[in-house]
């Protein structure tokens, strides 16, 4: 009896092994299939818009005339977000990794992570209801005193719902991403490098400048790229904050539009060719973010091989 039960469990075990490893493999392949499917279905649904006569597309000048201004608008918003977020994020990461008291550091890191937990629609609502109102006097001041710069050309928007406000909201949203990645890299700096610098009499800032920052540079670059990927694809903050319009150079007037917000604002009511056009716009966004993310990941992987970190 023991012999039969032994063989039977063995048989079940062997089959179980096969089934289990097969399921694990299938799940892994499913992920590759999904990513491939994302690209495939977007292309299939976008083809009607890409092949349609120019006059049928919104604006009447063809798909590329339609997508061009919103690609530029997306880039403008993302660049504003990164210009604001990067220095602050690196400062915060340094504060948590090298300046804050040891006992507090993980708690403070958690507080910054809370920024990432807040849903994007709430950031959008906050930007539209609070930030836009509070910041519009500053736009008036910029229009009066810095109006000779094309980007601050007046008259400033009275509601404050401009691409600059949207960029500021986006910067708050990408800040925790850049912070948490840079923090990880800063903490991986070899302790011996830091201690050697301090032993030679360097101040804390000199130690950071000489040992931490050079070590972390590739990591910081890829963190910024990942933040860029997030800023490019963020929808709600822009859709709720920006009162959109044609492409304009001035950041403090209403106008400009991003791909993601354009899709969110128009897709629910769209039908027919308009759906295809918006899916094609999504495809363009997908390709841009995919390229940015792949470059960032490639930098991280290369860096990993060099440093032996992780």
């Amino acid at each position: 009896m023991t012999a039969t039960s032994l063989t039977s469990t063995q048989g079940a075990g062997r089959a179980g092994d096969k089934i289990f490893s097969g399921a694990a493999l299938a799940a892994g392949c499913l992920i590759l299939a999904v990513l491939f499917g994302v690209a495939l279905f977007l292309v299939v649904q976008a083809i009607p818009a890409l092949t349609a006569p120019a006059a049928d597309i919104q604006g009447g000048k063809g798909f590329f005339a339609y997508i061009w201004p919103i690609v530029i608008g997306t880039l403008i918003a993302a660049v504003i977000a990164l210009v604001i977020a990067t220095p602050v994020a690196i400062g915060v990461a340094l504060f948590i990794s090298h300046f804050a008291p040891r006992g507090l550091a993980s708690g403070l890191g958690y507080v910054v992570d809370l920024l990432a937990a807040i849903p994007s629609v709430i950031y959008g609502a906050w930007g539209a209801a609070f930030l836009a109102k509070e910041i519009s006097p500053a736009y008036n001041w910029l229009a009066e005193n810095m109006g000779w710069l094309p980007i601050f050309q007046g008259p400033a928007s009275a509601t404050g719902k401009t691409i600059l406000t949207a960029g500021i909201v986006l910067s708050v949203m990408v800040l925790p991403i850049i912070t948490s990645l840079s923090r990880e890299i800063f903490l991986q700096t070899p302790k011996l490098h830091e201690e050697a610098a301090l032993a030679l009499g360097a101040t804390r800032w000199e130690m950071i400048k000489m040992s931490v920052l050079p070590f972390a540079r590739p990591g910081i670059i890829s963190a910024i790229m990942l933040g860029l990927g997030r800023a490019l694809g963020e929808t709600m903050a822009v859709a709720l904050v920006l009162s959109s319009g044609a492409l304009t150079a001035s950041l403090i007037q209403s106008g400009n539009q991003t791909i993601a917000a354009e899709i969110a604002l128009n897709f629910p009511e769209a039908s027919g060719l308009k759906v295809s056009t918006l899916i094609a716009a999504g495809l363009v966004l997908f390709i841009i973010t995919l390229a940015v993310n792949m470059i960032a990941r490639w930098i991280i992987t290369r860096h990993k091989e060099f440093s032996g970190a992780n």
Binding site: F20, I31, I90, P119
Partner: protein, 370 residues
């Protein structure tokens, strides 16, 4: 200034010569606060401006004092410290501002009777106009949206967790860092960067092609959320499975246990706390996603308990539509009250999930025996 400092300096030992006294930061802070208040009193006082002006004065004061006494290297160090601490404080501003805005605007909506137990079914602009003009109670609530969010997120979790966990098991236990495993790791990382609206469009395009144009149900939204959720689950589970000590696996193999039994009975139970907290964090991440639901589930004002047919509301899209298209365009105040109430509920939900994840990780952490 130097003349007043000289007697103090002469008392010190040679070792501490040329350093700022210990009370220096506090003295400069006090001076900066007073000077800041004085400057703002001239142009109109407000606490926010006071904080900023004082912080700038503090940095200038401390750095220039340090430059005068300690030399440029120490001064640069002080400047860097000021900038780093300052950037942390700047990062906290939006966090507190967002939480304060949501609390201040959301509490009136939340304590409105019936807010959590009624839907928006039949609530039209007429009632909102009455609420503003005649002081009638604001009608309507978020019951339908709350139900939709729970259903969509639950379905997304049911799809994502098995796929994500099995993939993580493949990567750690079967992949052996081979070419396929590395490809999966790379594309999972790339997938974390897919914009949420593209995930929504993919799901919509998929169902348009398979089921028929214009298919918008809760299930479509759940598939979209799964695309966002799977990579998060894979990454966190992979990390957790990796730190399970190899000795445990080897001990199980030595006792003649099959590999799949080892994984189910030894590896996963050891890592379960980390996996559970990772899944909770993944749920917290997708529960607030708006864009994918917006393009996949449409809008509904009534309760829909079937994820497989009909449009479905959710908390994020409820907030979005109430702000952007108020129920009564003439009087948007009741709508914005409902939107902020829903935002407060959503933020509480996300925070509870985040804290829950930390608690799970702490309570169910395996005992290391040390």
């Amino acid at each position: 200034m130097t003349s007043t400092l000289t007697p103090v300096r002469s008392k010190r030992s040679a070792l501490t010569k040329g350093q700022l006294p210990k009370y220096a930061p506090y003295a400069v802070l006090a001076a900066a606060l007073i000077a800041g208040a004085a400057i703002l009193a001239l142009i109109g006082f407000n606490p926010f401006g006071w904080g900023i002006v004082s912080a700038i004065l503090f940095a200038i004061g401390l750095v220039s004092w340090s430059a005068a006494v300690e030399g440029s290297r120490k001064a640069k160090d002080k400047l860097a410290t000021c900038l780093v601490v300052g950037s942390f404080l700047v990062a906290l501003l939006p966090l507190f501002s967002v939480i304060w805005t949501v609390l201040a605007n959301g509490v009136p909506g939340l304590i409105n009777p019936g807010f959590l137990t009624t839907s928006m079914n039949g609530v039209t602009g007429v009632y909102d106009n009455k609420a503003v003009e005649e002081g009638a109670p604001v009608l309507g609530g978020i019951y339908h949206a709350f139900l939709g969010t729970v259903q969509i997120t639950l379905l997304a979790t049911v799809i994502s967790v098995p796929v994500g966990l099995l993939t993580a098991i493949y990567l750690v236990e079967y992949g052996h860092d081979g070419r396929l495993a590395r490809a999966i790791t790379f594309f999972v990382d790339v997938m974390t960067g897919i914009p949420s609206i593209v995930a929504g469009l993919f799901s919509a395009a998929f169902f348009f092609a398979v089921v028929g144009p214009g298919t918008k149900t809760g299930a479509v939204a759940a598939v979209a959320l799964s695309v966002l959720m799977i990579p998060v689950v894979v990454r966190s589970s992979e990390e957790m499975l990796k730190i399970v000590p190899n000795e445990l696996r080897e001990a199980a193999y030595a006792l003649g246990v099959r590999k799949w039994r080892t994984i189910i009975k030894v590896v996963i139970p050891t890592a379960i706390s980390g996996i559970a907290s990772g899944v909770t964090l993944a749920i917290a991440r997708v529960i607030g996603e708006t864009a994918p639901i917006l393009v996949t589930a449409g809008f509904a004002t009534s309760i829909n308990s079937n994820v497989f047919s009909g449009w479905m509301a959710s908390l994020p899209t409820f907030i979005y539509t109430q702000i952007l298209n108020p129920t009564s365009p003439a009087n948007p105040d009741p709508s914005s009250q409902r939107a902020w109430g829903a935002a407060l509920v959503l933020i509480i939900l996300v925070m509870v999930l985040n804290l829950g994840a930390r608690l799970i990780a702490r309570i169910f952490a395996p005992r290391t025996g040390r």
